[in-house]
Amino acid sequence: MSRTIDLDVAPVRARRRRRSIVDWYRSGGLTAVLFAVPVVLIFLYFSWGPVVRGVLMSVEKTNLIGPALWVGLNNFTYVLTDPGLPQAALNTAYYALLGLVFGFPVPILIAVFVNELRRYGWMYNLLAYLPAVVPPVAGILLWKFFYDPSSGGIFNGILGWFGLGPLPWLNSEAMAMPSLVLYTTWAGAGATAIIYLAAIGGISPELYEAAEIDGAGIWSRLWHVTIPQLRNVIFIMMLLQLIGTFQLFTEPFLFTGGGPNNATQTIMLKIYNYAFVNGDYGAATALSVLLALFLCVLSVVYHFITKRWSPS
């Protein structure tokens, strides 16, 4: 198997350094090719190939059985003129914003706090991590009961003890999206906190001591030592979360079906509906391509912004 692969990749190298294969070998060329084999093979089969085939579908009208029809940019104009698209885009951005403002700091706070604990830290860790173990399908099923808008619902029952509510939760346009953020934060914070905790554990104590000698208080030490030291992890996790939120699907699909009044209709839900409800795979891939382009632009912007914040 690996023989075929060598043939695939080797010519690229050979052309460049025709004069001596021995030179090439000595300089580690073969090792590099060997190390490239798994990733190139896996990506070729399961990422690049399918993606290219998918992109081709975005300029076709296909029922996935008979021969596809070339329709040029028709699918793109179709999805771009969809009257529901601006709202879906706004909703997605709104979700991303809510997630960043309210959801994103939660795991950092948990991690910073747990790291300061001298005892029982493991217990906090454990409790925070438990929701990550609940499969999303099960978690959403449970939370649907919690979000029951009648006064007999679980959250409303609890609020009732304090004389509050009942709140409409998912049933109101204003509360639906925040309710989804609350759920995703619950489901994701613990696992993310563990990653932050690992990073915080790597911060050298001397930095804190130096700060303390300089007279920095506890808050100041957290702000000027911990957070900057976590910078790289925070950037990575933020990018991961952004990509994740722009591909938000399961939660609105299972919780609200995009309602009420499209308040939780997201781009991914639209893509899903094009593909699996309308059976219009061309439109679905066209919107996917647009979303991917947007995310690419976003990540380039992100790259330049974070670069300015990084020292190196």
Binding site: F35, P38, F46, S47, R53, V133, P135, I195, M268
Partner: protein, 323 residues
Amino acid sequence: MSAAGPSIVIAPAELSAIEPVVGRRRRPREAKERGAISAADRKRPIVMVSMWIIQVAMFVGLLVAGLGPIAWSARASVSSSQDIISDPMGIWTAPPRWGNIEQAWNGALIGSSLGNTVIVALGSTVTTLFVSATAAYLLSVLRPRWSALLSGAILATLFLPGVISLVPLYLTILHMPVLNVSLLNTFWGVWLPAGASAFNVIVLKRFFDSIPRELIEAARIDGASAMRVFTTVVIPLSRPILGVVTLLTIIASWKDYLWPMLVLAAPSLQPVSVTLANLPNGSMPFAVQMAAVFLTIIIPVALFVVFQRQFLRGVSSAGGLKG
């Protein structure tokens, strides 16, 4: 605070010990070297009081968030369908129906699907670690001339939503080009695509970038081959980040259901996520479905509680991700 403590107290020193050596003589020592708060700070009353308050508030919050849903699901699993639906808060006092659990265990094949979940998660983790680590080493350390091209091609896939390639990926699995085999109804069909994760490659590459070049150069000068540098220098230094990648992969494969549902069409191969997603289409009474949900939560939770020391230590010890 104390109510939850005594039954499973584990010496904190044990948790954060860096060397996982079993049977080592325990001696009292500072649990962690220190965090933002110093030993001197801890003696100040204001710090003591506020730490205590935060600690209790945090504990109550996490207890409700972490255990609350699981406790409710535990009680729901032994209630009647009518009680769960009509009065979800009132099920605490309803008479328990233990039969639900047995029906769910036998009916939904929870045991075998949990086994499949483990197989899927382990295989996906192995593929992911192998592919991303070799790729990151190539892009970060070996850096052949064409590495910029490769890393651009990998990066480009980071932003593509899965839907765009769902159908083509499925067609690929059914009929692997060149190899002419079908991966349908084999675990390979889930394991191999899991390796194509641009995010993990990038995270590992960034970490490998931060490994001091002197270490690698020193090993090279000692005559170590590129392969040897990889296995004896880079990998051991990257244990924490490999732990993180492992964690992320396991979580992702634990949660993913659409792809396994497509590839593992045979019920005997399906992991828990798929079994759960299929439950509402079955003929099991709702209470039994809730019992199945509970079983799928409680078994991994129990395993996690038992192995949490090893698990959390694996992820959080031995340094961290420094920039």
